[in-house]
């Protein structure tokens, strides 16, 4: 318990210029003439260590040989990432070492997607949702890169209808993001979207995994803290004030920022010496061949 309250060890990249902040799982090498082999029995999960993403991890472990847990850090009041790592140890002990863990800094991408233009965007969209949607888009963009690097065809997260007031977990956002993934040969799923929180809690409790400190419907001290998120959703949580997410504005925002994400993604692979379009073409061939053998 005390460990989860402490700030955790300082984080630094595993190599100069890298955005990966831990060395638990190796970063696969990429070569222009040799692309990663597609692995249909492995899956990625955007993982915080909270109730929903832990329940998702447990469910995925039943169906896949390996689950790649990926945690992101946006660099702005986003702390206590060692809590997610503590979760990894708990999961691996109970579920046959099926999990790998990677902590990635999305600060550079987040800056490009929203932070650098945040005041201009706020004047246009007139709501603080831009911070969270921009943060999540940067994470999704990096998740696509992660899947392409590791040969994965499916990625998931712990989005849940019980917390659909969060802009990035609304059906509209998830639907648009799903198309963004599809364009990059990755399927995006939300396996626990319709699972009630009580059921997720039971699933985790049955495995003897820590539940943290429960306050109302929230579990504290088991996942990273996001100060901006806490501030933005405070009026809703404390005073039942409706969140201000105009659906048209959200869809316009995602459409606009996806253009930036595509450019950043192209630049990311260029930096790794690989042409993104060639990599995607190779994956499409591999996926078609796999479907043909099914």
């Amino acid at each position: 318990m005390l460990n989860s309250l402490l700030p955790g060890p300082p984080l630094k990249p595993i190599a100069p210029g890298s955005d990966v902040m831990n060395d638990d799982a190796p970063v696969p090498p990429l070569r222009p003439d040799h692309f990663p082999e597609v692995k249909p029995n492995e899956i990625a999960l955007m993982f915080s260590g909270g109730v929903d993403s832990t329940a998702t991890a447990v469910m995925l472990a039943e169906q896949y040989d390996k689950v790649h847990l990926v945690t992101y850090r946006n660099g702005y009041g986003h702390w206590h990432h060692h809590r997610s790592h503590m979760r990894l140890d708990e999961l691996n002990k109970r579920l046959d070492n099926k999990f790998t863990y990677t902590l990635i800094s999305t600060k550079g991408y987040f800056d490009k997607v929203i932070v650098d233009t945040v005041m201009a965007d706020y004047r246009r969209y007139k709501s603080g949702f831009i911070w969270f949607m921009g943060c999540k888009l940067a994470m999704h963009m990096r998740s696509i890169a992660f899947c392409l690097e590791h040969g994965l065809t499916i990625t998931t997260d712990g989005s849940n209808s019980d917390t659909a007031e969060m802009v990035e977990q609304s059906l509209l956002s998830l639907s648009l993001i799903r198309f963004f993934y599809e364009d990059h040969t990755v399927e995006f799923g939300t396996p626990v979207y319709e699972v009630r929180r009580a059921a997720s809690r039971e699933l985790i409790k049955d495995l003897g995994i820590r539940m943290g400190v429960q306050v109302l419907d929230r579990h504290l001290c088991i996942q990273p803290t996001c100060v901006a998120g806490e501030l933005y959703y405070l009026p809703y949580l404390l005073m039942n004030k409706p969140v201000n997410h105009d659906e048209i504005a959200v869809s316009k925002f995602i459409e606009e920022k996806e253009v930036i994400c595509r450019k950043v993604l192209g630049a990311y692979f260029e930096g790794r010496g690989v042409d993104l379009d060639t990599l995607l073409a190779n994956r499409r061939e591999q996926i078609a061949a796999l479907k043909g053998t099914d």
Binding site: V115, G128, A164, L172, L234, Y236, L238, N240, H245
Partner: protein, 107 residues
């Protein structure tokens, strides 16, 4: 109710003490962050636009909370219902065409 506009609890009535406590927590937390960002921006001028963004959002939201926009404050002891809170079900869009149609209709 989970897919209700503005969140599943949006607009549900609350008591006056809960409103006042919420306002106090909201204002205090934001003020602490505002002071922190102000100090940080002196050391790292590149985050001054983050400081400005936070200050603007805080100001706008504080006005809304004080005006009680969308906040349904009832009695001192019982959260008496004043307005009906919304309950709009939204579909999950399985294909792009359906989503675009829905957006056009909404616009």
């Amino acid at each position: 109710m989970a897919r209700c506009c503005g969140g599943k609890n949006a607009g549900k009535p609350i008591t006056v003490p809960r409103y006042l406590a919420g306002l106090a927590v909201f204002a205090t937390y934001h003020s602490v962050v505002a002071v922190g960002l102000r100090a940080a921006a002196r050391v790292k001028p590149e985050i001054s636009h983050v400081r400005d963004f936070h200050r603007t959002v805080f100001k706008d939201e504080l006005k809304e909370v004080i005006r009680r926009d969308g906040i349904n404050v009832g009695g001192w002891v019982e959260p008496v219902q004043i307005d009906e809170y919304c309950a709009i079900e939204l579909p999950l869009f399985d294909d792009e065409a359906a989503l675009e149609t829905a957006l056009e209709v909404a616009a």
